[in-house]
């Protein structure tokens, strides 16, 4: 299933989010149950199915990470359900240090949490930029590795957010 085609958008990582949202709303309206109220049961069921597909496609394309993964899947690199481990000692050592840093943060240490968010955002943006370059250059294996790394950064972000929830 090609999510880009669903929206009649070019198959590319670069994407105009406002344009995507606009097309999403239009399709959503066209598929709305009220419009199919007088249709057959089959029509109604199809509309429900298409709506589910539409939402799935929208959520995938809207997220840079999921969009990149989807793009790679279309290029034949399937990362879904993979159980492969990452073995980049330098990156993982940095992850360990990150985890230690987060572990030592106090929920009340706003300045410390703020600084961690900033550092994390900067490192994430750097990887994001690298991912974009690799996808454009069609370097799919390296792009997949960068996506794997970004997943660790997202996990860190969730850990930081959890700290604030306490």
């Amino acid at each position: 299933m090609n999510h880009f085609e669903f929206f009649n958008l070019p198959v590319a990582y670069e994407l105009d989010l406002a344009e995507l949202q606009q097309r999403y709303r239009k399709l959503q309206q066209a598929l709305h149950p009220d419009r199919h109220a007088s249709g057959s049961e089959r029509d109604k069921m199809l509309a429900v199915q298409r709506t589910a597909q539409l939402n799935d496609a929208y959520q995938t394309l809207r997220s840079p990470l999921l969009r990149a993964e989807h793009l790679l899947a279309l290029r034949g690199v399937d990362m879904q359900h993979e159980q492969k481990t990452l073995q980049d000692p330098e990156f993982l050592m940095a992850q360990m240090e990150w985890r230690e840093r987060v572990e030592e943060l106090d929920a009340g240490d706003f300045a410390g949490i703020d600084a961690a968010y900033k550092d994390l955002a900067a490192q994430t943006a750097e990887l994001q930029g690298e991912l974009e370059r690799l996808l454009v250059a069609n370097d799919n294996e390296a792009a997949a590795d960068t996506i794997r790394k970004l997943k660790f950064m997202h996990k860190l972000r969730r850990e930081l957010e959890a700290l604030e929830d306490v």
Binding site: Q83, T85, P89, L92, K151
Partner: protein, 127 residues
């Protein structure tokens, strides 16, 4: 999802947590991570001149199953030769801890940590 008793035991009383001095020439390190869940595992082995693993320590950031898998592995590899340790399979870990299918990747992580540590050993003894 319920954790098995063995997982809970290792999780609540993890064996061999910590690390060795990485400048000690007999110490090798394996670092692995699971992108799917963001777990990170560091396994360190102390290997003597006869190629026997004398001691093992770990540090894992992850769920209960990941911690239990690494804790179990440090117990298992102690006293084993490099050859024996390299044959350890994730399925043995998963079976011992009764890991459910969604947690199999935790045992894969632990197996790969041993492999990465032994790889580090090879590298250090190549020259």
């Amino acid at each position: 999802m319920a954790y098995s008793e063995k997982v809970i035991d290792h999780y609540e009383n993890p064996r061999n947590v910590g690390g060795f001095d990485k400048n000690d020439p007999s110490v090798v390190t394996g670092m692995v991570g699971a992108p799917a869940c963001g777990d990170v595992m560091k396994l360190q082995l102390k290997i003597n001149d006869a190629g026997i693993i004398e001691d093992a320590k770990f540090k894992t950031y992850g769920c209960g199953s990941a911690i239990a898998s690494s804790s179990l592995v440090t117990e298992w590899v102690k006293g084993k030769s490099i050859e024996e340790a390299s044959q350890l399979k994730n399925t043995q870990i998963a079976e011992e801890l009764a890991l459910p299918p969604v947690k199999i990747h935790c045992s894969i992580l632990a197996e790969d940590a041993i492999k990465a540590a032994l790889e580090d050993y090879k590298k250090k003894h190549a020259g």
